[in-house]
């Protein structure tokens, strides 16, 4: 990229009268991104899990390009949704920061590994992650609160309060920080490697292992996926592995979709939508897995 690019772009106009084609491509990318951001924010899975297969399968771009654009879109999804979440105070900052130490370490490792792992292996890993997301979506347990934290979590003051059914504030405890941290390293590696937020793995760690309330897990995961993806995105951006032609429209579309999704979230019956998301995830995982196997 240098100063002559502007002229190069202008001179190419004569050879490629692509006014119609450019609108078709941009329109397609916008539509894909808005949908991914909306579903990502609503399901708590992040937009990346839908953006990567969308770009690979529908826009026919290689995995590497899709991962770079997706990391940017995950940052955008998280940022868009966080405006609402931060204001409403669902995020447990202490849990987020402690676990983020593990996740950022994993993300940097993953983003670095992404350049050396072949496309079929990336696609297969992605398919497996989607199946995990789908499994998680349909096996979420009830929202019973842990009455007290274990010793380590108590020492770190990780517990908090949420409003109960009667509107009164109910304290909740947190447990098993080491188990959660191990899962977060894995989530970070997957995030940097595959360009996804690994939101399902993060929420699963907080919800199942550490027993945080579901909505606190979702909002805290949302904070974390932005930071993790930010670390990965910076590696990709400064290495020149983010294609602005794809990432820019995707980022805008995803931000809009995520804003919409996060505004609807407090009023939505997310449970009813989970089965639909899980079905879509399984179908995409099968498609990606098939592509990976036929590419090996």
């Amino acid at each position: 990229m240098d100063a002559s690019d502007g002229m190069a772009e202008a001179s190419n106009d004569a050879e490629f009268p692509g006014d119609c084609a450019v609108l078709t491509i941009l329109g397609g990318l916008f539509a894909l991104a808005i949908l991914a951001g909306f579903i990502g924010a609503l399901s708590g899975l992040g937009g990346g899990v839908f953006i990567v297969p969308g770009l690979v399968i529908l826009a026919h771009v290689p995995m590497q390009v899709a991962v770079g654009a997706s990391l940017i879109s995950v940052v955008a999804t998280s940022a868009g949704a966080s405006v609402a979440f931060v204001r409403d105070g669902w995020t447990n900052l202490r849990v987020a920061i402690i676990l983020e130490c593990a996740t950022v370490t994993g993300a940097l490792t993953g983003a670095y590994l992404a350049g050396v792992i072949s496309q079929p292996i990336l696609e297969m890993l992605f398919a497996l992650m989607m199946l995990q997301s789908a499994y998680y979506s349909i096996t979420k347990h009830g929202d019973e609160l842990l009455p007290a934290s274990d010793a380590l979590c108590e020492r770190l003051r990780l517990g908090g309060e949420v409003p109960g059914d009667d509107g009164r504030m109910t304290p909740y405890g947190v447990r098993n920080l080491p188990g959660g941290a191990v899962l977060m390293v894995i989530a970070g590696i997957m995030s940097g490697l595959l360009g996804i937020g690994s939101g399902a793995l993060k929420v699963a760690a907080m919800d199942h292992l550490m027993k945080l309330p579901l909505k606190v897990s979702s909002a805290t995961s949302n904070f974390m996926i932005g930071v993790t993806a930010g670390a990965g995105a910076l590696v990709f951006l400064s290495r020149g592995d983010v294609a602005a032609a794809v990432a820019a429209p995707v980022a805008i579309g995803v931000t809009g979709g995520a804003l919409l999704g996060s505004r609807i979230l407090p009023h939505a019956n997310v449970g009813a939508l989970r089965m639909l998301f899980a079905t879509v995830l399984v179908l995409i995982a099968v498609e990606m897995g098939w592509r990976a196997l036929s590419g090996i």
Binding site: M7, D19, H60, A243, A244
Partner: protein
């Protein structure tokens, strides 16, 4: 749009409340708006001035041809020359500032609270983000 009554999952101090409820959303939203504006300008410039180049770039990307790294200075020179690609790339950098800003605000919060375990943890996360950029340069 009615949001549920704001509450804090952790007992909040007055400072925490002000930083979390007032400043963080305001700054986050501002950075987000700036990046969206810059990205939109880049896309509109592409459609108006270089549609053929965009289609060409997109087809090259479909064959896995990336343009390679550009440092901030060459990007700014590109912006001055009216390169839509440079404008869009700058917009993407601004967008990745959002998580950095969020973590930086969290650091301020914990420093004010003299909560040193969390100051160290937040500094580690912030360092990781900065290292990410440096690793990309080295790699």
């Amino acid at each position: 749009m009615n949001h549920p009554e704001p509450f804090s999952p952790t007992p909040a101090t007055a400072d925490e409340d002000r930083i979390l409820r007032t400043w963080t959303p305001l700054i986050l939203r501002s950075v987000l708006i700036v990046s969206t504006i810059v990205l939109t300008i880049g896309i509109v410039a592409t459609v108006l001035h270089a549609p053929g180049f965009y289609v060409d770039r997109f087809r090259a990307l479909q064959h896995g041809e990336l343009q390679g790294a550009a440092n901030l200075w060459t990007l700014l020179v590109g912006v001055k020359a009216g390169s839509p690609h440079a404008i869009m790339t700058i917009g993407l950098y601004v967008l990745t500032l959002v998580p950095l800003v969020r973590v930086a605000f969290t650091l301020v919060l914990f420093v004010k609270d003299r909560d040193y375990i969390y100051v160290a943890a937040t500094a580690y996360v912030l360092g990781g983000l900065i290292l990410g950029m440096m690793l990309g340069r080295i790699g």
